[in-house]
């Protein structure tokens, strides 16, 4: 098991404290994000997911508790905040709405420029980041506003990747994209992960995606960590997940249904590939019977 790069310790966040609108968004949250892992975060809307990830690079400050990056409190000083912003990259929901430059190139270059890199380094970063997300060279001089929705999203992600963060955090990166577009974005993110060994944190409402890609999952419920574990461990708690406004992957539901009908499958199944493999095993057993 890898050592943690980010540690969230006893994090509590209260919005509008001491007013009639006081709301505790996170309550005593403890999470470790390990080097190189893919961590899925799921939870109902309003469970505190977005509040949580905005703490990871000091965009908002804890009411109490600490965020440790390599053991150092990121809110300790101006320089620690700055360090966190370049080492932890945050991609918001619908990041394409934040594109603003005249050209795709300038938009991707915005982050690395703020890191005070040399023009050559910046150029290298832009081209590499564009490569990760499949934005072709020819598009770099175009206006980002001429691109399709899926392309814009990839440019926005490239803008964060260009800072080469060691932790890449994405809030609903696939929302509103067609299935082909979802697949591409996920492949882009995985390419960055595989090539750089960065940890990836994905907030998602898609149980299918979480199941397929995550090494580990965290379930948030009303501002608290309700479960954490491998997808296999998490999805054995179907009833609890549904009570929290979530769901289990369709294939897990199918396995439960098959079990009721007397067809038993070994272990927990949560992807189409696993289900097909398990059923092929049964089929081979029948052929020999």
């Amino acid at each position: 098991m890898n050592e943690p790069i980010l540690k969230i310790e006893n994090l509590t966040h209260v919005y509008s404290p001491n007013t009639p609108f006081e709301m505790t968004a996170l309550h005593d949250v403890n999470i470790e994000i390990r080097k190189g892992e893919i961590l899925g975060i799921i939870g109902h809307t309003g469970s505190g997911k977005s509040t949580l990830i905005q703490h990871l690079n000091a965009l908002i400050k804890p009411t109490s508790g600490r965020i440790l990056l390599d053991g150092r409190d990121i809110n300790e000083s101006k320089s620690s905040i700055k360090e966190a912003r370049s080492r932890v990259g945050l991609v918001f929901q619908y990041p394409e709405y934040q594109l603003f430059e005249e050209t795709v190139y300038k938009d991707i270059a915005f982050g690395p420029k703020n890191m005070k890199l040399t023009p050559e380094e910046i150029d290298g970063r832009v081209r590499e980041a564009a490569g990760f997300v499949g934005v072709e060279e020819a598009l770099l001089e175009r206006s980002p506003f001429d691109l399709s929705g899926g392309q814009k999203r990839r440019v926005a992600i490239a803008g964060v990747i260009a800072m080469m963060p060691e932790v890449l955090v994405l809030d609903e990166p696939m929302a509103g994209l067609d299935p082909g577009g979802c697949e591409e974005i996920m492949e882009n993110i995985l390419a960055y992960h595989d090539k750089t060994g960065a940890a990836v944190v994905v907030v998602t409402h898609s149980m299918e995606e979480a199941a397929r890609r995550a090494d580990r999952m965290i379930v948030l419920n009303h501002g608290m960590v309700a479960m954490s574990g491998t997808p296999e461990e998490i999805f054995t708690h179907g009833g609890e997940l549904r009570r929290m406004g979530l769901a289990t992957p369709v294939m897990t539901d199918l396995a439960d249904e098959l079990c009721k009908l007397g067809v038993k499958l070994p272990g927990t199944v949560y992807t189409v590939e696993q289900m097909a493999a398990a059923l092929m095993e049964l089929e081979r057993g029948r052929a020999h019977a």
Partner: protein, 285 residues
Amino acid sequence: MDDTAIKIENLTFFYNSDEEGRAPEDVLSNVSLNIEKGSFIAVLGHNGSGKSTLARHLNALLLPKGGAVTVFGMDTKDEELTLEIRRRVGMVFQNPDNQIVSNVVEEDVAFAPENLGIPTPEIRARVDEALKTVGMYEFRTHAPHLLSGGQKQRIAIAGVLAMRPKCVVFDEPTAMLDPQGRRDVMEIIGRMKNEMGSTVILITHHMEEAAMADTVVVMSDGKIVMDGAPREVFTHVEELESLGLTVPGTVKLMWELRKNGVDVPLGALTVNECANALAAHFQSK
């Protein structure tokens, strides 16, 4: 009696050319579709395929550049009929935050009927009924911005229902919602069709949602490329994947099994249907 709710004939549309004067490309070209009263149609297509542009023609938010759209017998190009058309066809969009106008739930729901000039007691009755339909009646005095995304979307739907439209167009209404929010919206759509006899047009990227419709229409590059019952359309697994789409997980599973020589039926649109078909196969001697 005419059973047609919306008739789309050779609809062509393009957005006006940009500042640099580049020639506009057709976003919709020669689209024809007949939507029957009381039917539930799902529209699928990759991003940029023209789905939302099509949807915006159904209540005269956009007007055809070629061809015609006739809504309950009214040509959308006739500006005198625009209000009548919008009274009959309501729209629900993706982002609930962009659809909420008031800071009290029941006032928000009353906004549209108020604009229609409906008498106050009648509005009261409509608002209560709409809030009950979406299961948000007990939240009627709450502030919408403090509700969850799914709850806000239900308020937005109630606002449309309070106009008592004959037809509602949903443009990716679940894209920003969690699984519970999605289940709630789909349940409301089911009730609108079955209990209220509404015509429903649902634009979605979720194949499981499309599987619940009577008819699935698939768009690609501004054209309708498939049109049929979900059971039929979802048998075209490879074709849909080549269009940037997919099929429900249960259909994909059956397709994988059949590819490997297991004799199971392809058309399994729900978990129950799929489980029953698999159990029948694996328990047969």
